[in-house]
């Protein structure tokens, strides 16, 4: 289970990006996914903050996994995660105040992102640091990519721009709903549908699409 071979590290690293993508496949961490993907910039900031918290706490939990008694493991994980979240929160507020204002409480809410606690309980607490690190990086990247997908489509449709750069000129009619909360649900639903169709086609290429 925990032999740290290069192949194993590679497998743990890549699984989160596509095969076990935290958003598109595991459907974890929906709160930030829906709430702050209305622009590419917000998606990047949330993705980076979550990545930082996930990688930091996974590494620490894995290093300390033999020291933490089973009865208090969840509380300890939460302390570790909350520490990293608060660090990320004040760092963002100091470095990019505008983005921090947009994200508001959602940075602090990374604490309760079930993706992070889930990875500690399911992986980091039972695997050596190198594997835990690979897993966290993979999952964090998968999360970032998914947020970028949603943030990109929502900003393009909802504001006609990408990272604030206008794409279609001044005559573009923005789909206001896409930058509002319902747009998050609609877009996520559409993307999950797309993934389900893709996976189904892969499984039985002949039957579908007849």
């Amino acid at each position: 289970m925990s032999a740290t071979t290069p192949e194993r590290v590679y497998a743990e690293l890549t699984k989160g990006i596509w095969r076990e993508n935290p958003i598109f496949v595991q459907v974890l961490g929906m709160c930030p996914t829906l709430a702050v993907t209305n622009s590419v910039m917000n998606a990047i900031a949330m993705g980076v903050a979550t990545f930082f918290v996930l990688v930091g706490s996974s590494l620490l939990v894995s290093l300390l996994r033999r020291l933490i008694p089973r009865e208090v493991r969840i509380s300890t994980y939460i302390i570790i995660i909350a520490t990293f979240v608060t660090l990320a929160d004040s760092a963002l507020e100091a470095l990019v105040p505008a983005v921090h204002k947009e994200l508001g409480a959602f940075i602090a809410l990374i604490v309760v992102n079930c993706l992070i606690l889930g990875r500690q309980e399911a992986f980091a607490s039972r695997n050596p640091p190198l594997l835990a690190l690979a897993d966290a990086i993979g999952m964090g990247l998968g999360f970032c990519i998914a947020l970028l997908c949603l943030g990109g489509t929502r900003e393009i449709l909802g504001a006609g721009s990408f990272l604030g750069v206008s794409l279609f000129g001044p005559n573009f009619e923005p789909w206001v709903i896409m930058v509002l909360p319902p747009g998050g649900f609609l877009m996520l639903g559409a993307v999950l549908l797309l993934f389900a169709v893709l996976r189904q086609r892969k499984r039985r290429p002949k039957e579908v699409g007849a």
Binding site: N171, F172, E173, I177, L186, A210
Partner: protein, 339 residues
């Protein structure tokens, strides 16, 4: 259903049947909407026709693409997609870019019907889902009401109809306010006669109260829909708005204005009566209509928007399964089910 020749006929549920099929019903409704469509074209010219075509095209395209029926498009034959597109188009302003009407039809059908499992499974009226989507997506276009043309300008099509896909419509020279908008923001009432004849600004199908009323009565007599639903909606709006009006007639509009303005009549006759998304029991129909009526008055008088028929019907659509459950007739001899 009969016990002819003294023999007992055994039959499985459902027992309540009317000799009417889905395509037949859809055709009846579309024909029943004919005069409203003609009135829309009379008041708004060829633009009205184009918007209706775009809405229908969007709905049909989505049914073809996302419908479960195989071969593809077989489910189009029941006419429900066409009806969805038409009803949607009649709730849109005449100057709306055609690509938005198309998008509304497609989203309404895909999201409101196909995603729920097709005709009969949908919780919300698909046309209203499409309307709600474009209202939320393009609020400024959906609140720009171009003035009516007269019969001479029948062939002058509004330039804003031809905005390129994803692009802004050109500014309409003669934008104006709907009677409800005038009431909400200017406290200015509109003449009842104008409301009845349709000589006002508004969505394609909602302006002429008289035509909708006549069509509604005929359809109710032909039992195309359950007459209790529109009756209950209109009655509730009349009662509630009369009470409010009697309390302070200087602040609140008169009940006849509430009844004849906006999309109330159109919604009550053509949208709230959708058999899939409204309750099946008579008692349920009364409850449903009363709910719609109360919400309409609440939104119109105290909400941020001038009109609330769309949201009222959608909200009561959501409550329909619950209403159906509590309004089931009690089997004879059984006690009341403990709450």
């Amino acid at each position: 259903m009969t016990t002819g020749q003294g023999r007992l006929l055994l039959q499985a549920a459902p027992f309540l049947r009317r000799g009417i099929t889905t395509p037949r019903l859809m055709t009846e409704v579309i024909i029943g909407m004919g005069p409203v469509m003609l009135a829309a074209m009379y008041f708004f010219g060829l633009s009205a026709l184009l918007v209706m075509l775009a809405g229908v095209a969007g709905a049909v395209a989505a049914e073809w693409a996302f419908g479960k029926a195989r071969p593809r498009g077989a489910s189009l034959r029941d006419g429900s997609a066409i009806l969805t597109g038409l009803v949607l188009a009649l709730t849109l302003p005449p100057g709306i870019p055609l690509w938005m009407a198309f998008l509304g039809g497609a989203v309404g059908l895909a999201l409101g019907k196909s995603a729920m499992g097709g005709l009969g499974q949908n919780m919300f009226n698909p046309a209203l889902v499409g309307r709600a989507f474009i209202q939320a997506a393009f609020p400024s276009v959906l609140t720009t009401w171009s003035a009516q043309g007269n019969i001479n300008s029948f062939f002058t099509i509004r330039a804003s109809n031809f905005a390129l896909p994803f692009m802004h419509p050109a500014a309409d020279a003669v934008a104006t306010a709907t009677p409800l908008g005038l009431m909400k923001f200017e406290r200015q009432s509109t003449d009842l006669l104008h409301l009845l004849l349709g000589n006002t600004a508004g969505s394609l199908g909602e302006t002429c109260a008289l035509v909708i009323l006549i069509c509604g009565v005929i359809m109710a007599i032909r039992r195309v829909f359950d007459w209790r639903i529109p009756a209950s909606i209109l009655l509730t709006v009349a009662v509630v708005s009369t009470i409010v009006w009697l309390v302070d007639s200087s602040r609140y509009p008169a009940p006849w204005f509430m009844l004849c303005s906006g999309g109330l009549l159109f919604g009550a006759v053509y949208m709230a009566t959708d058999p899939v998304t409204s309750p099946i029991t008579p008692r349920g129909a009364w409850i449903f209509g009363a709910g719609v009526g109360v919400i309409v008055v609440l939104i119109r008088l105290w909400g941020g928007l001038p009109e609330g028929v769309m949201y009222a019907i959608l909200l009561m659509n959501a409550a329909t399964p619950l209403i159906d459950r509590v309004s089931q007739p009690r089997p004879f001899g059984r006690g009341r089910v403990a709450a």
